[in-house]
């Protein structure tokens, strides 16, 4: 085998991993070029939301279940870390892990009854959960600081290095985001991932081939809640301030819109969806009062014309058209072969 062919096969076999490393390289070099804090701040926000939305995309996009409550898990992560580190002085990293585990338990308790529901009912149940979380954050002032929020959350530190600038946090959050991305890419390329994609399209058929539908829905719900919780903890340590309004049902809706713009089930699309929705307010500053309307319009238009979401929808259109063309060509080729066999094109 030639060296070129070997390299080519290696590239093909490890294409997903190589793309992730390439992305890491690009992301690592961005701050070397763009040093202004405004851009870095936006990229940090994108990184935070990428972590949460990747989880939600596994649940909503890949496994086909709707959640309008993920800002609740995001908020529990943020406030969990905020209260325990700022008020009680717990060390940030172990706290983050502990909070994520606690959120996993909450998600399990919420998920067991609600994931028996479908469609609108599941949407309502998760929305209700988010609403309850928001009310607790607002009302329980002696712990959460009430509507005015909680400040003085310590910055994270890695090996004695305090993550106290936008640039340092940039490298931290994108490391987390790339790990999350890798975990998601791994999951969807496994039997468990195929099972999730199968149950999203047909629960009965999935169960017939050995997918434990009930268990798998709960597992991916819990996993996505953990992702949101970790994103929330990072958020709290980055801004050193949390406020209940960041974790309202409208944030949940924004997270869903990010999934839809990125495309249902598209792990790569998530990067696009989050970036687009996070940057949109900056591009359309003159329309500030109408953000909610614009978000709503985007959602409606995409769901009307590309129900699988923007990126996935476009990719599907291309995939299906290519497939149709190939099948058509195969059909006409077979016809030509038949004609040759029959001697129709043979000349004397």
């Amino acid at each position: 085998m030639s060296a070129f062919r070997k390299t080519w096969l290696f590239t093909l076999r490890h294409r997903t991993g190589l793309i992730v490393w390439l992305l890491a390289l690009v992301l690592a070099s961005i701050p070397l070029v763009l040093r202004n804090p405004y851009t870095l701040n936006n990229l940090n926000l994108i990184g935070l939301y990428v972590i949460a939305v990747l989880g939600l995309n596994l649940f909503t996009g890949y496994a086909g279940q709707i959640s309008l409550g993920h800002a609740g898990f995001f908020g529990l992560g943020a406030y969990g870390s905020a209260v325990l580190t700022a008020t009680y002085g717990w060390p940030p990293w172990p706290t983050m892990l502990l909070v994520a585990l606690a959120v996993a338990v909450v998600a399990l308790i919420i998920g067991m009854p609600t994931l028996r529901l479908h469609g609108h009912y599941l949407a309502m149940a998760t929305l209700g959960f988010n609403y309850v979380v928001h009310i607790i954050l607002v009302q329980w002032d002696e712990v959460t600081g009430g509507p005015s929020g909680l400040s003085g959350i310590p910055a994270l530190s890695v090996l004695g290095l305090s993550i106290d600038t936008d640039m340092k946090f940039y490298y931290l959050v994108w490391t987390f985001a790339l790990v999350a991305l890798t975990l998601c890419l791994n999951l969807v390329r496994s039997g468990v991932g195929r099972g999730l994609a199968a149950l999203a399209q047909d629960e009965v058929a999935a169960a017939t081939f050995g997918v434990n539908v009930k268990r798998d829905k709960i597992r991916v719900f819990v996993l996505s809640a953990c992702f949101a919780s970790v994103a929330g903890s990072l958020y709290a340590h980055y801004f050193s301030f949390v406020n209940p309004d960041t974790f309202s049902i409208f944030k949940s809706l924004d997270l869903v819109i990010m999934v839809v713009v990125g495309g249902l089930g598209s792990i790569w699309g998530t990067l696009f969806g989050v970036s687009f929705i996070t940057m949109l307010p900056h591009w359309l500053e003159f329309l500030e009062t109408y953000y909610d309307i614009i978000h709503g319009l985007i959602l409606v238009v995409i769901l009307l014309f590309l129900p699988q979401g923007f990126v996935t929808g476009l990719a599907d259109l291309i995939r299906i058209n290519l497939a149709r063309r190939r099948l058509r060509n195969a059909g006409s080729r077979r016809l030509e072969e038949d004609m040759v066999d029959a001697g129709a094109t043979r000349r004397p």
């Binding site: 999951l187 496994s190 199968a198 399209q201 995939r319 149709r324």
Partner: protein, 261 residues
């Protein structure tokens, strides 16, 4: 027969009502190892209900299903799959957005393992297993003549190909028993011939099958044993030639035809 091995499937007095109407009424039947057992009967005879009870999609009201001597009642579908029962669906139930290869790979869900941690970390063990499963799936696609369409979305295939993807997905896991629910419904005679050849091939490989079908030519040409249902009751059972001449069977089919004609 003096043979002491129990039948692969033994259904006794299976009863299932839908809102007071009996879909299955004390049906008993057996299916032997390594044979094709056909289940026939007019529309509404209860064939699909029986298949759904066998796979755990429905739970019967009364009666017993023994698979390899083991009682299946109360087991959920994914547990029954684990015991080695696979099926195809009467109305295609492919996953349209997954590729043909991934559709067949869903037939290997049990073999792929269900550890989420292993999947998230993509351990070397899982990587190795995935590669082996892909080869198994590609082999199945080759057997069913679909290997050149492996990477196409299943939803884009023509109907006849979709039927064969369903069969490949059912047989890929090397199941003990395969339930084929109307595998040739809607196919033309050439495609029907292909499916018949595939069923015979699978029988040569020693596979046990239960075939639900309306196409009498297919049933007569591929099955070893025929069970006839009508109105939720078993009205006849035996070798194809014998069943074909059974007056009760003729009445169930022809009698109804003369009423509707």
């Amino acid at each position: 027969m003096a043979n002491s091995t129990p039948p692969l499937i033994q259904v006794s007095n299976l009863t299932k009502h839908f809102g007071g109407l009996p879909a299955l009424d004390r049906v008993s039947l057996t299916a032997a190892r390594g044979q094709v057992t056909a289940l026939i009967g007019p529309n509404g005879a209860g064939k699909t209900t029986l298949i759904n009870c066998l796979t755990g999609v429905l739970s019967p009201d009364r009666g017993e299903i023994l698979f390899d001597g083991r009682d299946l009642s109360g087991l959920p579908p994914h547990e029954i799959t684990r015991l080695g029962i696979a099926r195809t669906f009467q109305n295609l139930r492919l996953f349209p957005r997954l590729s043909v290869l991934d559709n067949v790979l869903t037939g290997l869900t049990i073999q792929a393992g269900s550890s989420m941690l292993e999947a998230l970390l993509r351990t070397p063990g899982l990587r190795h297993r995935e590669r082996r499963l892909r080869l198994t799936a590609l082999e199945a696609l080759d057997t069913f003549g679909l290997v050149d369409k492996a990477d196409l979305p299943a939803g884009t295939l023509p109907y006849g190909d979709k039927k064969r993807v369903e069969m490949a997905r059912a047989f890929v896991s090397n199941p003990v028993l395969t339930l084929l629910d109307e595998p040739v419904a809607g196919l033309n005679s050439e495609e029907t011939g292909q499916i018949a050849a595939l069923i015979r091939q699978m029988r040569l490989y020693g596979k046990s099958m239960i075939l639900v079908e309306h196409d009498m030519d297919l049933v007569m040409s591929v099955s070893d044993h025929v069970v006839v249902l009508d109105g939720g009751k078993r009205i006849a059972a035996g070798p194809p030639e014998e069943v074909r001449r059974n007056p009760l069977v003729l009445e169930a089919y022809l009698g109804r035809m003369s009423v509707t004609a």
